[in-house]
């Protein structure tokens, strides 16, 4: 593992150096691209990425392992025709996946196999959680969903296996945090993700938790590099988490249908307020 990301880091510095010379050749690289890039490699080399990447890998492996275990229970409920239990397990199970979605998305076709919504893919290819969601909430039955349940468990295991092969680059972490919030912004806060079960807030919370994990890992470096930015991100996370806590219900969250327009607007604005400074975390990668 260590070897893997060390190589990637080296590649990243080489890329940065390449950029800088290109800029020089171009002659019109604004704003001193060359010096910015040299700073970039300098500061990238000052960050000790090894423990950060290791921690994140550990986190994502834990999530993936639990994801398989919980999916197993969910699948069992579907296959035994226990629709109430299946409905109960559906949203909490998904959260383990949603927390590590950037990694899953880096693994090619697995994300659509597990998480495609209706019409995201051709009907013949549509499987995964949302296909089963439709059985449970629209057709109100588990009948016919059994095969999809089996496939889902297989896909979850494939995900876990593939994770052994993926290299986690610093850039993946930095952009992954923003991507998690973009997921929330584009489908969860609008209720598009869980259009039959309306359990969008579970995904919402899980995405935010996944982003929070990345931020927590990067925070010490960020505080060194740009303390004001770090404070701004920290405050914005707290604001969002506090707001989200208002919608907790028991161990989970209220239905999306319980949200009023003002609720979703407020949540959406808090996401934007957080994601904007979060998108500046790349400062620890250079410049």
């Amino acid at each position: 593992m260590k070897k893997g990301w060390a190589v990637l880091l080296l590649a990243a510095s080489l890329t940065a150096a390449g950029c800088s010379s290109n800029n020089d050749d171009g002659g019109n690289a604004g704003n001193g691209g060359a010096s910015a890039s040299s700073q970039a490699s300098a500061s990238a080399s000052t960050v000790d990425w090894a423990p950060i990447i290791d921690s994140y890998r550990q986190f994502s492996v834990e999530q993936a392992d639990t994801f398989i275990a919980e999916t197993d229970k969910f699948v069992a409920a579907v296959k035994s025709g226990d629709i109430d239990t299946a409905k109960q397990l559906y949203a909490p199970t998904r959260m383990y996946y949603e927390r590590i979605e950037p990694i899953a998305e880096a693994l090619g076709d697995l994300d659509p196999d597990i998480d495609a919504r209706e019409n995201d893919v051709e009907d013949k290819d549509w499987r995964g959680f949302h296909r089963i969601e439709k059985f449970l909430w629209v057709d109100n039955t588990t009948a016919g969903a059994e095969d999809y349940a089996d496939r889902l468990l297989e896909d979850a295991k494939s995900l876990r296996a593939l994770m052994e092969t993926v290299e986690i680059e610093p850039a993946l972490l930095v952009t992954g945090a923003v991507e998690l919030l973009n997921e929330v912004s584009s489908s969860k806060v609008t209720g598009e993700e869980e259009r039959y079960s309306h359990t969008d807030l579970y995904d919402f919370a899980a995405n935010v938790e996944g982003a929070r994990k990345i931020y927590d890992l990067l925070q010490p470096e960020l505080a060194k590099k740009d303390a004001a930015l770090d404070t701004s991100i920290g405050t914005s996370f707290t604001n969002l988490e506090d707001a989200l806590a208002d919608y907790k219900s028991g161990d989970g969250y209220v239905s999306y249908t319980d949200l009023k327009e003002e609720d979703t607007k407020k949540l959406s604005q808090l996401i934007d307020a957080l994601a904007e400074p979060l998108s500046q975390m790349g400062v620890i990668l250079g410049a």
Partner: protein, 458 residues
């Protein structure tokens, strides 16, 4: 809008001509010709302003032949004196810095993008630093420059959003103000709320919708290019993320100089020529009397600022379109084709309110727009409105279009409010319009280079 009037300032537009366009009435073309003649002699910008101001006003008086020129009224039945002040230089840059904020007395470019924001962070420090960042960004954008230097770090989003790269400054102005809600207990500024910054009373004809009302902060972007205007609001919103959120926005337009090179009196969306009786923006005396708040008015920090009324006035387009020509002309008190007062032949004929028809009834109806607009001339405001079209109303399938009425005045309690109260009660036009958005703001005094917008308050 009181009346559906379009705005006065306006037409301006041609880059190499003075802003004559802003005065819609015929007189304006005199002024325009005059001003453009001056321009061709390539006098300096300063000289031009001076000459256009004086000469324009004189011409206007002569042409209109009525003392009413400066006795404005809401609807601007008389032509504005001159709007040639603060003409942008040939680069299309309107100075951001100055005694007063740009976008008030400066000529009206073709488009507007108005945005109201609410502050979400609770500290005055945060608001202050936001205004400092906004000031730098706004000054840069009005010069046609990006909001900041790019970092050179590929792992960061670009500093500027990029859609205005390569576009000219386009006479862009960015004007800031704060509303009554800004002076609640959040920032410790309650004691600095100007007495003039009242919550508007309910006016006749109001059907206000919360989604188009109020706001802690107003940002008015005017530009000759909508993409440039959008870029400005987008980047200011982005800079403000985490501190402010958008509350409402409205785009507006007026016919461009490309469509009307002659700069004739513009027509509002009801099809009538609409003029205004604005004060002479070139006259500091007059502007100080009508528009600029003074130190002695009550709030020292507003010295050189002004109060802005924003009203989203929807026109009942479909209803208007099926009313007869006679009804339409009675409503305005003018002929539609020529713009002449009823009973007269030419657009600039004097309005004779005493004229009677064969039966002894007034030719110009008592509640017609023209008549009410003239009023007694005691209350004056600087109108700077734009037409708007916001697609359709999904509830009715009808067009959502009308006037984004904007005016500036020294004390809304004495100027805009009484004027609107009168109009809201009796204007015949009320059958065809409805006010569904409203906001009131205190626009800061101008800012000097090195300072920031709002520093007199913060």
């Amino acid at each position: 809008m009181e009346n559906g009037n379009r705005n006065d300032t306006g037409n301006s537009t041609k880059q190499d001509q003075p802003q004559a366009g802003e005065t819609p009435l015929l007189e304006q073309s005199f002024e325009e010709r005059q001003a453009s003649g001056l321009l061709h002699k390539s006098v300096s910008r300063r000289e031009l302003l001076k000459m256009a101001g004086i000469g324009g006003a004189g011409l206007l008086l002569g042409a209109a032949g009525l003392g009413a020129v400066f006795k404005g009224n809401v609807f601007g039945e008389a032509a504005p004196a001159t709007r040639a002040s603060s003409r942008p230089n040939s680069s299309g840059i309107v100075d951001f810095y100055g005694t007063h904020q740009a976008g008030i007395a400066t000529p009206s470019p073709n488009f507007i993008l108005f945005a109201a924001f609410d502050v979400t962070s609770g500290s005055l420090d945060s608001v202050r630093s936001l205004f400092q960042a906004w000031t730098a960004a706004a000054a840069a954008m009005t010069r046609g420059e990006p909001v900041g230097e790019e970092s050179g770090n590929d792992h960061l989003p670009p500093t500027d959003t990029g859609e205005a790269v390569g576009l000219s400054p386009s006479r862009t102005t960015i004007t800031f103000g704060v509303g009554p809600s800004f002076f609640d207990n959040r920032f410790g500024l309650a004691g600095k709320r100007p007495a003039a910054l009242v919550d508007f009373p309910a006016f006749g004809g109001d059907e206000l919708r919360p989604e188009w009302c109020g706001g802690d902060i107003a940002v008015q972007v005017c530009s000759d290019d909508m993409q440039v205007a959008f870029h400005a609001i987008r980047n200011l919103s982005r800079i403000g993320r985490g501190k402010v959120v958008l509350r409402w926005t409205q785009e507006g337009f007026q016919r461009t100089s490309a469509a009307d090179p002659e700069g004739a009196t513009p027509r509002n969306l009801l099809g009538f020529k609409d003029g205004t009786a604005n004060p002479d923006t070139a006259s500091e005396t007059e502007m100080s009397e009508v528009v600029w708040a003074q130190a002695g008015d009550g709030a020292n920090w507003m010295n050189g600022g002004t109060y802005m009324a924003v009203r989203r006035v929807r026109m009942r387009i479909e209803v208007w379109d099926r009313s007869t020509l006679a009804d339409q002309e009675q409503t305005f008190g003018r002929h539609r084709a020529s713009g002449a007062p009823l009973g007269s032949r030419n657009e600039f004929d004097a309005v004779d309110l005493d004229a009677k028809d064969a039966n002894g009834k007034p030719l110009i109806p008592l509640n017609s727009h023209v008549r009410l607009a003239r009023g007694d001339g005691s209350a004056r405001i600087l109108r700077r409105s734009y037409s708007y079209s916001s697609g359709m109303d999904n509830k009715t399938g009808q067009l959502d279009a009308g006037l984004l009425f904007i005016c500036f005045n020294r004390d809304s309690r004495k100027q805009f409010i009484p004027m609107q109260q009168k109009l809201g009660q009796s204007d015949l036009l009320n059958e065809y319009i409805v006010h569904n958005g409203s906001a009131h703001f205190a626009c800061f005094p101008g800012v000097r280079q090195g300072g920031y917008v709002g520093e007199t308050l913060f």
